[in-house]
Symmetry: C2
Subunit: 344 residues, 2 copies
DNA sequence: TTCGTAATTGCAGACGATTGCAAGGTGTTA
DNA sequence: TAACACCTTGCAATCGTCTGCAATTACGAA
């Protein structure tokens, strides 16, 4: 509504009786300017409360100094941490950040990309939605030579840099831990099967089983759609298995928390009756009763690394060749996995 | 790095042998254009994968269709929910959103404002940092006639619209609930005293006490700096009180969760030995053991309402006169408050 | 056939900033 | 005193889009 007129270089120039170009150079601290003129201009600018118009600047130099970020959900603690890391680094390196959420929808993801591209972001950091199973929109970015990078939820075939956690090894670690405690019948609760992390974590699960000479049993792999209902269904499925599994490894913490709650309602004791473990180390994992054994993946660090690499590419500090950065996860052992079936 | 040349109107114009202005009008679906020309241009634009340059557009019409949001912390579930609500509404109304976090620092908050103003946002939604105890930066926005609005963490004297929760009534409700259960010695754990919500929730606490004829006892008001250490200190302080309080109301859930954890370590049973309640209804509140009685404040709704009002103002649909929107909270009774001291 | 009017389209000047190049001024040297 | 170089500053074009106004065309009416 209000006009909120901004002070422009033109006004500074008029006030001081110099040209706009001189003002521009003064504010850029150009060396080819008389020191006194420069001083006067800088002073006037401060006094008049001048703020550069980033839009005009970006248009002129065709660089917006803005990055776009697309995450499935901001309300997820993990992604919020990533964003936080991205912002901290981006800001210290002089970049702004525009954040969008896809709400786990492919259509939203595409729309977000359009918006950000139209906004002339210098680069994009994308974590794919759950729904994303076609990738033309990403190849289009690639064809247009727009810098982007995938993190956490990636698609491996796309020839851009990726930042991921070592999901295989994380899952391997936690399942190995369950095996070492004596469990053999171990359930893996997966999310939708085409999800990157569903696959990777299953891979780690299977690897650990293989290492301990436990045969793969497809009936021990359950799938949840990651809704509350889906998770509760899985919880019940496990209870109805005969013989009952000794341990359950859920692909992400929220599933484990729902399962845990449901079991407690059914009078199942954890870890006495069955061991439980998750993945992500959400804040809830530490405070549920019993505390949940899980795998910690520092989102803040991931965000920092991802944006650092992208900015390095933008600033020409890193090769444009795609690289893959793989972060290590850490097994966090808590009470929920302290179930020790007697080994045969 | 890459040139990633965008298709511009100029190129479409050249290809079709028309002028840029004609292209511009065609893409705006201007009625003063020959239908056939329009059709051809629109078609060519689609085919050439034209995307408008929002920077140029914004510069030209001096409206960026972008809003700025400043929150203390993105990783807080409550603020993440607010952001989510803001984005959903903003997007459906054709606005983008730039999000910044102040990390609870006044200096960051100021810097964020500068950045967003420079980026020519059409309006700002601000939730103040914990540190913010001077307000010149906000008055400056006001003087510059930049549209903004405060939400959740507000400063009452500033003549702009505000969206808050009815903190007084929320606190009143939960303390009343504790009183009704029979507690009389009720501790209030406050955050830093100049924080808006510290004051408001204390007000509700005192009002409930007064209504039940319980005299105010300053020794029952404890202050935490909201760090883990501060919270644990408070937990111990309570245990050392003699006689022990019958209930504790913490200003925000994270404090209550820390207190709860610490007490459990010390062998205190909740709610058998003492009642506990929080405020916010974080996801953790529902899953701790015992589940935490708290006050729910829907951040998503707050975000939606706040941005709706700001956009109404921007679009001239609402008066520019500041208004105050107060949202209701809901008492969520869970097990942690089920402590019933025998009344005298 | 000529004129007026309406329907289309193009020109050119913004928006605010940057930058190559030219122009003005000063001082130095022969 | 003339010539040259350098130090400062301004001019003008540019980034991509929008828009008031002028110009062109076409068409029907007289």
């Amino acid at each position: 509504m209000k006009k909120g007129r901004q002070v422009t270089m033109k006004e500074i120039a008029k006030k001081l009786g110099v040209s706009v170009s001189t003002v521009s150079r003064a504010l850029q601290d150009s060396p080819e300017l008389h020191a006194e003129t420069k001083r006067k201009i800088v002073e006037a600018a401060k006094e008049m409360n001048y703020r550069p118009n980033l839009l005009a600047q970006s248009l002129r130099i065709s660089r917006s100094k803005t990055l776009g970020v697309i995450v499935p959900e901001i309300t997820s603690h993990f992604f919020a941490s990533c964003i936080s890391g991205i912002q901290d680094i981006a800001n210290t390196r002089g970049y702004n950040v525009m954040i969008c959420q896809s709400n786990e929808l492919l259509s939203q993801e595409k729309a977000n990309i359009q918006t950000l591209v139209s906004s002339q972001v210098d680069g994009l950091l994308i974590s794919l939605s759950r729904e994303t199973n076609t990738y033309e929109h990403l190849y289009e970015l690639y064809d247009r030579e727009i810098n982007f990078l995938l993190f956490d939820r990636v698609q491996e075939d796309i020839p851009v840099s990726k930042v991921t956690f070592n999901d295989v090894s994380g899952a391997y670690q936690v399942v190995k831990h369950l095996l070492e405690n004596g469990s053999r019948r171990i359930v893996y609760v997966s999310g939708p099967e085409d999800l990157y992390i569903s696959k990777k974590r299953k891979e780690g699960y299977l690897r650990a089983l293989a290492e301990f000479g436990v045969a793969e049993d497809p009936s021990l792999v359950l799938i949840s759609d990651l809704t509350l209902e889906g998770n509760l269904r899985v919880a019940q499925q496990v209870l109805q298995m005969d013989p009952r599994p000794e341990a359950v490894f859920c692909m992400i913490d929220p599933v484990a928390v729902d399962v845990l709650t449901e079991w407690k309602k059914s009078g199942i004791r954890i870890p006495e009756d069955i061991a439980l473990a998750g993945f992500t180390d959400n804040p809830t994992a530490a405070v549920v009763e019993p505390p949940l054994t899980t795998v910690s993946q520092p989102g803040y660090e991931m965000g920092k690394l991802a944006v650092s690499h992208l900015l390095d590419q933008l600033d020409g500090l890193a090769s444009e060749d795609p690289i893959s950065i793989v972060l290590d996860t850490t097994l966090v052992v808590r009470k929920s996995s302290q179930h020790f079936p007697s080994k045969k």
